[in-house]
Symmetry: C2
Subunit: 204 residues, 2 copies
């Protein structure tokens, strides 16, 4: 594309560096920024600068936090020895939004993926093993996506952690609440039958 | 959504102010910014600041430009008295990318739209009338979208400009080059028959 202005071009190129935003979308967004009050775009730029300057990660669970230790990890009302292992901060937010989980988290920061060159060394695994070594963990719930990479990561972590006195589980797979049977994919349907729950165990 | 961090929340909120970007997408983009080198996000913030600070509009045709008068309006090789009237800068870029148009532009900055509260006063119409008054325009090509608003705008402009000695045209509507007849919408098909071109006038 030929741009009529260098400042326009640079803004478009930088926006188009974001994932899922092509040149056309970037141009549309940038032109929108020019049509709204200047202060709004200055506020956006400032928020992004502040983000990369001031962001902190919890020293214990590695979630994004404003403090050295996050609000969940210092909350005495949470079960500190029940740890839900997730891939990233979005997963923490999703589970927190349910308001039903009373344990804590451990954010891996990704999944083991040889295809994308992500090995165990790039993930927050050592700190999880240390938490286990120190006897801080009673139960681990693996809440990773059920893909090849997710399953590999769970298997790797299990092998590293199985000798400590910890109870392991993975989140249940099955039909979503409200889903209709006829639209479910085969793999999910098979798992929902394999891992059926005795009717007497149902929690309502 | 509950955010684990204030700087994260602010960045997400500001990104989600952009059109077509919801909270979830904004969160995905902001987390991506945290996973890439910090310098890239600083560069984005700087580009946006520079954009709103330094952007200029051509005094003659109102397109975005690095100079007071844009490169098209000062180019002696362009037909300065042939003016293509468009809605915004993207249209200028689209036509320029064809490399076939040798005239100049006039960017209205929108369309007349009573529904969205945009009247003629908010558009760059007076400057177009002044260009006509000064005898600077020989021919005007209306290249607006063929919607209710686009047609209204063309009609309004035509009424304001018809007493000057100017030749008016609109861009041709019809089936796109390479389009198949059976997939064309009815309105387009009807227009392509109404405005059929004598075979002897075909330009190859």
């Amino acid at each position: 594309m030929n741009y009529p202005s260098k400042v326009l071009e640079r803004a478009v190129e930088e926006m188009a560096n974001l994932p899922g935003i092509g040149k056309r979308t970037a141009l549309r967004l940038v032109l929108h920024m020019l049509n709204r009050p200047k202060s709004q775009t200055v506020a956006l730029a400032e928020a992004l600068d502040k983000l990369v300057d001031e962001v902190k990660y919890c020293q214990k669970c590695h979630t994004i936090s404003d403090h050295d230790v996050c609000e969940i990890c210092i909350n005495p009302l949470r079960e500190q020895d029940l740890v839900c292992v997730v891939e990233d901060v979005r997963d923490v937010m999703a589970i927190e939004n349910t308001g039903q989980f009373k344990g804590t988290y451990h954010v891996l920061g990704g999944k083991i993926s040889p295809m994308e060159g992500v090995g165990p060394g790039q993930l927050n695994i050592n700190s999880l093993i240390n938490r286990a070594k120190n006897g801080e963990i009673r139960e681990i719930i693996f809440a990773l996506s059920s893909t090849m990479e997710g399953d590999t990561t769970v298997f790797y972590l299990y092998r590293q952690l199985k000798d400590y006195n910890i109870q392991f589980s993975t989140i249940a797979r099955g039909l979503g609440v409200g889903d209709e049977l006829e639209y479910a994919d085969e793999a999910t349907l098979v798992r929902s039958i394999q891992y059926r729950v005795p009717y007497s165990d149902q929690k309502f």
